[in-house]
């Protein structure tokens, strides 16, 4: 998941999520960076609205134990 975290970190910091940016962040975290995985990530993110995908998270979080 580290590639995803890197992307969201950049997004949250208001930076462009690019291959180089992701690589820099991962290297700083001490992770071995696989070029292909970084590429694949950026490609997958192309048509995605990150904000929208993140707000789905709020709903997808675990259900409230049904009130008795």
């Amino acid at each position: 998941m580290e590639y995803i975290y890197a992307a969201l970190l950049l997004h949250n910091a208001g930076k462009d999520v690019t291959e180089d940016a992701v690589k820099a962040v991962l290297e700083a975290a001490g992770t071995d960076v696989d070029e292909a995985r970084a590429k694949a990530l950026i490609a997958a993110l192309e048509d995605v609205d990150i904000e929208e995908a993140m707000s789905t998270a709020a709903v997808a979080a675990a259900p409230a134990a049904a009130p008795a």
């Binding site: 995803i4 694949a40 997958a44 993110l45 995605v48 929208e52 789905t56 998270a57 709020a58």
Partner: protein, 299 residues
């Protein structure tokens, strides 16, 4: 010996020779053919089936001896199909694939009365309920056949649900007759596919029966497995990227809230959490002593 053979062949009627050639031609013409059992099918039903299948299949009824010769002599090397020939068979020719053919034949089967002396293919039951018969000798006939019957409301009724004969039992004449009169049709009668020959391969019913439900659920299972694998290894593709982002976001929220990380974005949740806890504690407390809480918190 040779002389006898020659002598014998001279006496094969032309019509038989022609028939063999006709069969061979059909075998040649169609991509596949099957051997079907036609025993026990009333003539009328056979005709009906022939009509029903006419757009997709050609049924050819011939003497086994002639079919035998055709199979042996066919250029398609299908003599092994002879193993599937027995009494009362016919050939069926079609352009459809073997599975479709099997399905069509199964679908064209109809429920039919069971004959006296036949073996019950499954447990045969009668169900409680009315019949159309007025009181009369039929009552005694039903009862002697083992069918529980009585009079109710001026009509003969079957008085309870009962298995009147178990799978594998021979059906008595009396029972067969009574079941028919009650219009209970325990047998599926139709063209019984013994085997299909296509492209050098022989397919039998055990291979040809397709369970659609199983295919459906297997596809669903495979789809789930693919999704599971992709998300669990964080493989980003159009189908998984939203889920992956969502997952990461949830994990960040979880960590932030559970560890009370005082970041702007989760303040609302943290405040909300504290507030909820306060309300929960307040209601537990006010249940014990109203004076322990504010006016606006009193339950």
């Amino acid at each position: 010996m040779m002389e006898e053979e020659l002598h014998h062949s001279e006496h094969i009627p032309q019509w038989k020779k022609q028939e063999i050639e006709d069969i061979k031609a059909l075998i040649e013409k169609y991509p596949l053919f099957g051997i079907v059992g036609v025993g026990g099918i009333p003539a009328k039903q056979l005709q009906a089936m022939r009509r029903e299948l006419k757009d997709v299949a050609v049924l050819k009824v011939s003497r086994n001896t002639l079919v035998n010769r055709a199979l042996e002599g066919s250029s398609k090397d299908c003599s092994e199909m002879i193993d599937y020939l027995n009494q009362q068979c016919a050939l069926i020719f079609t352009n459809e694939n073997p599975f479709k053919l099997y399905k069509l034949l199964e679908q064209s089967k109809t429920p039919s009365p069971i004959k006296a002396g036949a073996i019950a293919p499954q447990d045969i039951k009668v169900e409680k309920g009315p019949t159309s018969f007025p009181p009369g000798p039929i009552l005694g006939d039903l009862q002697s056949a083992g069918i529980p019957a009585s009079i109710d409301g001026g009509k003969v009724v079957v008085s309870e649900n009962k298995v009147v004969t178990e799978e594998g039992n021979v059906v008595s004449q009396n029972l067969a007759s009574m079941l028919a009169r009650l219009e209970i049709f325990p047998i599926e009668v139709g063209l019984d596919l013994h085997a299909v020959f296509e492209d050098g391969s022989i397919f039998t019913p055990d291979v040809l029966a397709i369970d659609n439900d199983k295919y459906f659920s297997d596809i669903a299972a495979a789809s789930r497995q693919a999704f599971n694998l992709a998300v669990n290894v964080a493989y980003p593709t159009t189908a998984t990227i939203s889920t992956l982002i969502s997952k990461a976001s949830s994990e960040a929220m979880n960590l932030g809230i559970n560890a009370t990380v005082l970041e702007p974005e989760i303040m609302d949740s943290l405040l909300g959490k504290a507030h909820s806890q306060m309300i929960s504690l307040a209601s537990a407390v006010s249940a014990n002593n109203e004076d322990a809480v504010d006016e606006d918190l009193k339950s």
